[in-house]
Symmetry: C2
Subunit: 257 residues, 2 copies
């Protein structure tokens, strides 16, 4: 079973730029999308309930903003929306589903890059997400968190480490949070397989030549608990789809199911 996480930076724009073609090449069985930036009714008709997929949309209340979705080829059940007890998730950031005995969580952390106000939001969110994820980790079933965490963990996860030490997404306490996360028992499959090298990046600014020069950040993660690690297989990052369709590349893992 192939599971892909992809921040599409506006599904409508991605569709115009060849989303369909990229998806058929990446060929996932489970697709976790972030930054859909559309209510289902705003999508072109054939994309609201795409043929051959079971789809759950989880849009933000605010139009054109944030929002996640899970697409599965086999039927799935929704376990929860959001990380609050009451199931509220006004920005559509977490969608928790079960498919073929595996729990998948589509995650989209707030970005703090557009000001102190948003950074404060992000940090509040991190505080709540950490204990939530801790509980989930202990399950006996495979649990896979996939999504855009908007944090690069180590200098290997960001091209310009030095100059970004004060940038949201690479602040010391954000890096520490990402570390805690992994230390508590989640495996970071991309890093595990890539080894101790620079990259592989999954996001590139579209200012300047960051993309063609591969000066990016690794902020899209696939994280799994012990049970998931037992069935975890190959990782692939489709840089082309990133460049053509979004500012993020889709990250895919093969699970032995």
């Amino acid at each position: 079973m192939r599971i892909t996480t992809w921040n599409v930076n506006g599904l409508r724009a991605a569709i115009r730029k060849g989303f369909e073609e990229h998806i058929s090449r990446v060929n996932p069985d489970v697709l976790m999308l972030q930054e859909v930036r559309a209510l289902p009714e705003q999508l072109p008709k054939q994309w609201r309930n795409p043929e051959g997929w079971h789809v759950t949309w989880h849009p933000a209340e605010k139009k054109g903003y944030s929002g996640t979705a899970i697409w599965t080829r086999d039927p799935h059940t929704i376990i929860a929306r959001g990380i609050n007890e009451d199931g509220s998730d006004p920005e559509g950031r977490v969608l928790h589903a079960k498919v073929k005995g595996t729990e998948v969580v589509c995650v989209y952390l707030p970005s703090g890059s557009s000001g102190d106000h948003r950074q404060a939001e992000k940090e509040k969110w991190m505080d709540v997400f950490m204990p939530w994820a801790r509980k989930l980790k202990s399950k006996r079933t495979p649990v896979l968190l996939g999504g855009d965490f908007n944090i690069a963990h180590t200098p290997r996860d960001i091209f310009y480490a030095k100059s970004n030490e004060k940038s949201s997404g690479f602040l010391p306490h954000e890096r520490a949070w990402m570390g805690d996360f992994i230390q508590m028992g989640y495996a970071d499959y991309v890093r595990e397989q890539a080894g101790d090298i620079d990259g592989p990046y999954s996001w590139w600014s579209n200012r300047g030549k960051a993309r063609e020069l591969d000066r990016g950040w690794r902020i899209d993660y696939l994280l799994g608990n012990k049970a998931a690690s037992r069935i975890a297989g190959n990782i692939t990052i489709d840089r082309e789809a990133g460049l053509a369709c979004s500012d993020h590349a889709p990250v895919t893992i093969e699970l032995d199911i």
Copy 2:
């Protein structure tokens, strides 16, 4: 002396689409611009004080909205901004200047097409403008009003006359207002020279094929008092500049000065 009126529908966009080249072909001595939609400081540097021109900008207070300007090759003096006694004109709709003994008034009437609220504004504006223009008309010096009036006067001034009888810009009372205006003693030079034919249009919707099929409206006027009529010469409408650069075409008159 060639005097041109042109609604540029955003000077910054027009510049990107070849404004400079069209202006040098049209070759006016006096240029009256409407819908500049920029504060001078938002324009590319070389356009803030274009070489070889004396320029007065008259922007709206609201960013990216409305705004007029007068460019002259000879020096000009500003007689007034707006039509209120106190010189206020928050939407930058009237700029009154004198150049080489001729008074030119750059006029941009509100559009009512985007709703009742805007239509009410337009009508209030029409009520104030009429007596203002009446006073001006009686001057012994040539007075030329040029601009976008957002009203087509007769069925000859609009392609789809029948289907627009309830459209803002061709409402019976608007047409009557335009008629009063001309009857009080302003000459409509474009109509005078074109004679009793359909068109020539100066604005085309950019929906559908309105432009290539020349299904437009004549809403840009050059109107003059008696003294102006004595020196009024040839009219030209540069349809190409309209199609390439804006949704309006520049309208030019030759004055014997």
